[in-house]
């Protein structure tokens, strides 16, 4: 089957495979983190839970790195979305 380049990779942010490949090539991106920052893929509501594996695969293809050489997305609290009001009240509790 021929690969469709206009696949949506990140559903939360609606980022296509083409946009991701273009950014990697233009800016010489080597890490998942960099791709995420430049394209917003992985920055959505699910914080990359859905799209990271696909993203990693594309970067591996583009950079000749192995999938497991690529660092996982840096995890930044909260692990799950929480209302700002919750942070205002309970901020001192741990989030994860």
């Amino acid at each position: 089957m021929k690969k469709k380049v206009n696949n949506t990779i990140c559903r939360c942010e609606e980022i296509s495979e083409q946009e991701i490949r273009d950014a990697i090539r233009k800016f010489n991106l080597r890490t998942v983190d960099a791709v995420k920052r430049l394209t917003r893929a992985g920055m959505g509501l699910c914080q990359g839970r859905t799209c990271t594996p696909l993203l990693t695969k594309i970067i591996a293809e583009e950079t000749d790195k192995k999938v497991d050489e690529l660092l996982p997305l840096s995890k930044r609290p909260p692990v799950r979305p929480v209302k700002v009001e919750f942070l205002a009240r309970e901020g001192e509790q741990k989030l994860d």
Binding site: N28, L38, L45, P81, L87
Partner: protein, 393 residues
């Protein structure tokens, strides 16, 4: 391995990349050395991308004005959509006691030729119903912008690379070799680079580079924390809202340190920006915690509480991410250091931009390139000279 460059720039943040770009444009052979595995992993990748003209005071105001001019055509020039957007800014207060300060801020800005307008609380809420009941007064202005920080950082690097600049990653400057009054080469953990000039754009780490030359560069890491929310529909009028406390906490170190209030001690003063995507970034705080760049729940709590006062609807919106960054803060006087020094003569410092480096990146790159290649700079940088710290060196 031995490499050669006209100029070595330490730091792949927005300042280092801007310096590299403006130098490369003049035909200079530049090597940028960055200790991390990519660009924008210091303060430049952990900020809000706001360029709020009304927050700048002379002599930095002159830099900010010129920088905003350079930003106007930058996207085209570097062939990268940096999402430069005219969003204006609104500084407002929820404290009756601050009313005279707001009035003074308004008059000061007027005098500086900034087109500000003082608006009473009830009128503000009419114009922007999302603003909180506690807000008593605000000062709006429409020459403020926002940019996408990553794109500015990577965009400068992209354009510099096209002009021949080389980037070395995972490469940390460890030692600097001198030949009498000059720097001869830079030693990293991977290579030796012979160079005619060294630019210190190492941000919050700039003092470490200074130490390698026996110099005290009075810059410390001032941590700032940010929360990012899910996207929501765009505000009608103001998408860049600032707490009047910002005017003191960001610029007046003594006011922060002498305060009895826990929130002020942590430097919490709001800067609320809604990106075009609809996400809000809620910032920020200011404390000194060494090189620790993690968020703390206590600070986030104060930030969230305060944010809800200004924009109450934020309370029902979800926070999806938090992060912190380290501002390069000059504890001497809070001003940037853009300067050559007496010895070594070929050492240039470009740091101390504190909470304003995103705004000041283009003009910094341009002026530093002029400082290195020409006999003078197009804008006076005397106020940012390293010689002002005579007593500590």
């Amino acid at each position: 391995m031995i490499k050669r460059a006209d100029v070595v720039v330490v730091g792949g943040g927005v300042i280092g990349c801007s310096v590299a770009y403006y130098l490369a444009k003049k035909g200079v052979r530049v090597i940028v050395v960055e200790k991390k595995e990519g660009l924008s992993l210091g303060a430049s990748g952990a900020n809000q991308g706001g360029c709020p003209l009304q927050l700048f005071k002379s002599p930095v105001l002159e830099l900010a004005r010129e920088s905003l001019k350079l930003y106007k055509n930058l996207a085209e020039e570097i062939e990268c959509d940096i999402e430069y957007e005219n969003v204006g800014s609104l500084v407002c207060s929820v404290d009756e006691k601050q009313y005279p300060d707001m009035k003074k801020h308004f008059q000061d800005k007027r005098r500086e030729g900034i087109n500000v307008r003082l608006i009473e609380g009830h009128q503000l809420r009419k114009l922007e119903p999302t603003l909180g009941e506690d807000i008593i007064v605000g000062v709006e202005e429409w020459d403020s912008y926002m940019v996408n920080p990553f794109k500015v950082n990577y965009g400068f690097a992209y354009a510099a690379r096209k002009l021949g600049t080389e980037f070395l990653f995972s490469s940390q400057v460890k030692k600097i070799e001198r030949d009498k009054e000059r720097i001869a080469s830079v030693i990293t953990d991977r290579e030796k680079i012979k160079t005619n000039f060294l630019v210190n754009a190492a941000g919050a780490w700039a003092s470490e580079i200074g130490k390698m030359l026996g110099l005290t560069i009075p810059v410390r890491a001032r941590r700032g924390q940010i929360m990012v929310t899910e996207p929501v529909p765009l505000n009608k009028r103001w998408r860049y809202i600032l707490d009047a406390d910002y005017l003191t906490t960001a610029f007046d170190l003594a006011a922060v340190e002498d305060s009895k209030e826990a929130r002020i001690k942590l430097g919490v003063a709001g800067s609320y920006i809604q990106e075009k995507s609809g996400n809000w970034t809620i910032g920020s705080s200011r404390d000194f915690a060494g090189y620790n760049n993690r968020v703390t729940m206590q600070t986030l709590k104060y930030m969230a509480k305060r944010a809800i006062k200004f924009v109450p609807k934020l309370k029902d919106i979800s926070c999806i991410r938090t992060f912190a960054g380290l501002r390069p803060f000059c504890y001497g006087d809070g001003l940037p250091i853009l300067s050559k020094i007496k010895s070594p003569q070929n050492f240039v410092i470009a740091t101390g931009h504190a909470g304003e480096g995103m705004t000041l990146a283009p003009i910094t790159g341009k002026l530093i390139a002029e400082l290195i290649t020409e006999s003078g700079t197009s804008l006076s940088i005397d106020a940012f000279s390293f010689s002002r710290f005579k007593n500590i060196n």
